[in-house]
Symmetry: none
Subunit: 222 residues, 4 copies
DNA sequence: CATGAATGAGCTTTCATTCAT
DNA sequence: TATGAATGAAAGCTCATTCAT
């Protein structure tokens, strides 16, 4: 199960490459990806030079090309690793088969839960997506996004059908607002602040389901 | 009223320069800024070359430097024009002196209302902010952001004090979530779709104040 | 009598242009040349932009081209004005018909005497000659230099023949050393210092004729 | 012993960089510096493009930046190499501890002796000094110049105190005249002419110490 | 005479990538 | 695997000069 458009049942091309390499080579590669991800997050993909990545790793820029065949391959690995993990978690939540409101809450928690382990990847996706999407090789990102959208929208619709969610809101629009609110938090969220990501998730779930207002509701709920 | 750090009571340096020029010169300059903004939004600031901007205007790249002294000056004008307008609108809403919930609703409407007229500027701010902030000249963006944050947070706190808003949410966190939800919509919002920006605003206001859930509230409201 | 290669009996092209203009136009032109000369001296010919010259004059760079048809025309006028004056003074000294030593002393005084009124031009000649000589239009400078050399060498040889100067020195070499010593002083000479140009000249004449040493001479004088 | 302002007891940064490279890398770099120096001398620093330097070396202009981080770094190496050598030679002459007149003669010989091996560097220093000194990085040139001046002036004063040199000349002024006379000769001196640099030096020493005149001295010597 | 917009050629520098060693 | 030299394409910017108004 992968997010790559051109991957079969086994793994992404990058992963296959990793598999055929020796264990330590794979670790070296993963380490390089991690270093690069940090730089991409901090400075942006375009503003990060391969030389900076190589410097960080203590090698020369040309040497990076023994591990990756291009700068885009590196960021590809950053993003697909994140998306593979995210989708896997969502699937697990869905397979639990709970009621819509509980599942949706769990999906919100999953989203905020990726903020720390995948901070760099999410940052890159937020900032550089607009640039990266112009390259054919990243088409798979759109497909992954579509798959995720379907998961969310299905749950929202199920919740409306079950009378748990108000019927006068647009499911797709609502999904987008939830999604954006979660990911964009990567811009200002820093571990060690007042709230951890669990607290953030609960805070958001509260407002999301019950609203900011006290007293009577403005609009009739279906 | 300006967002520039080094501007006095009159106008931003750029604006003053524009004012001293003849009317047509100012129009030419504004036209170039508009063309550049579209390109920045579509391709990103770094990926947009000055040659592309010049091509779009039907002149040579060097000729752009008759109007602006750097590529950064152009994007600066794009962003500060947007921020000046936004802050002016927020101020007007605050000066109306309504009750917090009404003011906050109006501020949400203002936010969504900038999505169309300032689509390009907002897109640039979303995508290239991380890159641009490293340059000293864009420090004023941070200051403008702070000013806006204070406006929002003050209203949220006033609403809590007045018993209109639940007291168990963090004002700053709530502001950030509202803010992000509005601006990030620029990524997928296209005029002519199912909802216009007014509809979007009302949709969001509904969810924001009254929540997604029907029936009893999960958490006690203060 | 002019230093331009392509000038007839009347005047240099630049001068002719000046003559046909109205009096005030000529003054304006001279003023611009003076401003430019200062900048050329301070920053070097190449490093001085026409825009800087225009700024100094309070006009736009394009407007300079109503007065001169190129940047080189301006520096040409700076240099030829100096050379015309210098050669005229040398001629006057030669025409006085004094004995070689007296004439040579006078020529040294004339040289140092140009340091103040022609400071900028001499500086340009010292610093930018190497660059300017590659343009055909400045060939006349070489001719002027040759004419000056002949004047000096003739006096030195006459002094040797008359037994005033030692015969074991090379006239051409000696001329070059005297010439260089004078002009290069423009690099460090500043009016208002310990010595004025008259003092400088006398100092140099002393060393030149009588040497730095006291007591017996090292070498036999002819 | 170095002329760089920011160098300690070991070597200039450039030199250290060179030292850590392999032997052939250092040779390549030195070769490039030599090619560049010739071009700088012939056309001037500003008028020489990096493309021309690269062409001369048979590589592309961008490839130069594998060896140097800017055009200024190249000319820096040209000039500091010369100054390091010059100052080392002067120091050796001073350490011999001879009487002032002998030392001064030796210093004159050293000066003329650099005309051939350092022709390009001296030419650049003569022509482009005025331009280069505006950059902070070349401040060390001024310091080197000061150090040299002190060496000369000390010898002249010692010679006056010992009664070898006339007391009615200004030591600093005399130094400048000697210095300029030597270096400026690079403009017309060409190896293979009537006199080699040794001959030149002896010619100048003769005139300098004993003067051009025969017979009685014009001015009383101290 | 001056302006202001534009040209066109060229500049230094950057950078992802290649490849022989 | 890594190095180090080089490529090649392009980038942002400069500047002398032109010209219609």
């Amino acid at each position: 199960m992968t997010t790559r458009k051109n991957s079969g049942a086994t793994a992404t091309p990058a992963k296959r490459q990793r598999a055929t390499s020796s264990g330590s080579a794979s670790e070296r590669r993963d380490h390089l990806v991690k270093l690069a991800a940090e730089l991409f997050a901090r400075k942006g993909f375009q503003a990060t030079t391969v030389r900076e990545i190589a410097d960080e790793a203590g090698i020369l820029s040309g040497s990076l090309y023994h591990h990756f065949d291009s700068k885009e391959t590196i960021v590809d690995e950053v993003l697909s690793t994140f998306l593979d993990d995210l989708i896997a978690r969502y699937r697990a939540a869905l397979e639990s088969g709970g009621e819509p409101r509980a599942v949706l809450s769990e999906m919100v928690r999953i989203g905020f839960g990726t903020l720390e382990p995948h901070r760099a990847a999410i940052t890159v996706m937020q900032n550089d997506w607009n640039y990266l999407r112009q390259f054919e090789r990243f088409n798979y990102l759109v497909k992954a996004e579509d798959e995720v959208e379907q998961m969310w929208v299905a749950q929202i619709k199920a919740g409306q059908a079950a009378g748990q969610f108000r019927g006068d809101v647009d499911p797709k629009l609502t999904y987008r607002m939830i999604r954006d609110t979660i990911w964009v938090a990567v811009r200002w969220f820093r571990p060690g602040g007042r709230l951890n990501t669990t607290g953030l998730a609960e805070h958001y779930i509260t407002v999301l389901f019950d609203g900011l207002a006290t007293g009577e509701r403005t609009t009739q709920k279906a």
